[in-house]
Symmetry: C2
């Protein structure tokens, strides 16, 4: 099967995305050809250019923004006493979508992973320590993932802050809503048991 | 949830594609931000520009190409006695992928659909008749879809060619490989029964 070169290149572009295989990439490329008017191509190209040029990390927390500070950091109504520490900017989006957390964020931009040469200096830990000089911040909530690297990073930050009077907490791990104990993995079950609580009555 | 404007626009671009919902579009947009280097953005933009500028219908058969004639029409080893008539250029891609058909194609660019104002003049039927003046073409295989419009279009072309000595055939419809009779729809079953054959023994 020989596609015209430009069409094959477009298929290759779509194949880079997670979960898009050969068939789906072909479908998207053909959909583009089929449905795009001249202006649609221009809009898609302009959008890629704008994303490339405009989107950058918030100078304060590392969240994605097109200004100096992201909309969370710029919002004086957010609770400045809490800093929720996450690995990646996309974690902020997920938490914001849930609309329950009212504090601020700190995006590390990765986790400590010595095997890949990523030490504490490679992620935004010193920026976190620097922010914590602001006396409004009272609590750091560690929301790194429940992986070896996420746990190591959380423990390391907890250690660094143990000498300060910042209140350090770790988000709870356990069985997610709608899950079935029969299908839970061992680590989740272990965390669910460790984190057990008395029932309020 | 407020995304930076350019990021929201990129999410909107991905949402246009079939089967991509809000969550998946967000995932692809974030993947772009996360993994794309400056050159990756340039390549994606250039690819869209090239697809827009270069890909056009083959002047002869209507298949997608970046030259005057597509690679099928330019291939002197293809069997010029057969013209397989399909609705869309993407049907050619599917048939070519199966690597069994060795003849030429004719892409109609649609089907007759009076309710949408699409008559025989709106699709490439006169181009088909014009091609059939070439005495090398002996057979027209109608491979429009098994829909009301596809059937109507096939019957119309069959009628037009009934006065010529072109051999007109319709591809077989019936139960697909790997399917289970218990789950077949009525039209497929009807076509499978109508098209029944004696077993060679």
């Amino acid at each position: 099967m020989k596609y015209p070169e430009a069409l094959q290149l477009l298929i290759d572009q779509f194949r880079r995305y997670p979960g898009i295989g050969k068939k789906t990439a072909e479908r998207y490329a053909l959909f583009t050809l089929d449905r795009f008017q001249a202006t649609d191509y221009d809009v898609f190209r302009d959008t890629l250019k704008r994303v490339q040029d405009e989107i950058k990390p918030c100078l304060q927390c590392g969240n994605l923004t097109d200004e100096e500070r992201c909309y969370v950091c710029s919002d004086s109504n957010r609770d400045h006493s809490q800093l929720l520490v996450v690995e990646e900017a996309k974690d902020v989006l997920v938490i914001e979508n849930a609309k329950t957390y009212k504090g601020l964020y700190h995006v590390l931009g990765g986790v400590i992973k010595p095997s890949a040469g990523i030490g504490p200096e490679e992620i935004r830990i010193k920026e976190l320590l620097s922010r914590l000089k602001d006396p409004r911040h009272k609590e750091v909530i560690l929301a790194t993932n429940l992986s070896d690297e996420g746990e190591t990073t959380a423990l390391y930050i907890d250690y660094l802050l143990s000498k300060t009077d910042i209140n350090v907490t770790r988000i709870a791990h356990g069985l997610p809503a709608g899950s079935d104990i029969a299908y839970a993995d061992e680590i989740t079950l272990l965390k669910a048991l460790e984190g057990r609580k008395k029932i309020n009555r």
